[in-house]
């Protein structure tokens, strides 16, 4: 069974500072994809960043980067230079190459403090 765990229900960070959100997952698959989604109060889930499991290089998208540790099954999200607009729920998701669904964690509520 695939599971995704986000152990930080809530976090806060000062504007312009850096914050790291944790995510671990469990799978027996070797090929898969990992994602971080942002859900602001508008409810729409927005893809922030994705990582292909067969790539060792950590993905980066502007201020967002990941630390992907395949052996440890860990996939953390680092947000640099935090902005007020980063305030949202963040969900980690696991997408296997087989099967018909993604598996989501329970989310981390991030608040950026001015």
């Amino acid at each position: 069974a695939q599971t995704v765990t986000q152990s930080q229900p809530e976090m806060s960070v000062q504007e312009a500072e850096t914050v790291t959100l944790s995510c671990t997952y469990d799978t027996s698959e070797n090929n898969y994809y990992l994602f971080w989604y942002k859900q602001p109060p508008s409810r729409q889930m927005i893809l922030v960043i994705r990582q292909e499991a067969y790539k060792q290089q950590n993905a980066t998208e502007n201020r967002f980067s990941v630390n992907f540790q395949k052996a440890a099954k860990s996939f953390s999200l680092k947000i640099s230079d935090s902005q007020l607009g980063d305030t949202a729920m963040y969900f980690c998701a696991f997408g296997p190459n087989t099967g018909n669904q993604f598996y989501f964690g329970t989310g981390t509520s991030l608040t950026v403090i001015p």
């Binding site: 898969y32 409810r43 729409q44 994705r50 598996y103």
Partner: protein, 115 residues
Amino acid sequence: GAGVSQSPSNKVTEKGKDVELRCDPISGHTALYWYRQRLGQGLEFLIYFQGNSAPDKSGLPSDRFSAERTGESVSTLTIQRTQQEDSAVYLCASSLDNRPNYGYTFGSGTRLTVV
């Protein structure tokens, strides 16, 4: 369309009534998914459609839940005899195909409140 469109945005219904939720995926996206998001929880898979293949209904929580999709277009999720535990945000997502490469594009969801 440019994005995934869901309607209604919010729905309040009385316990025991039937409700129908609509999802209009991105044009050309063959895969369509429904997820349920209860307050304070992650997303729970409900059902998956891929082209004209038989849907994967393995996530539907009870026989009160059903969904249809005509070809590669609009999908409707129907909940019969609603219960208070059905209160949640129902999210629809679509993707170009069933490979996980690029993730999903989500709609803004329907917030269902059963009173």
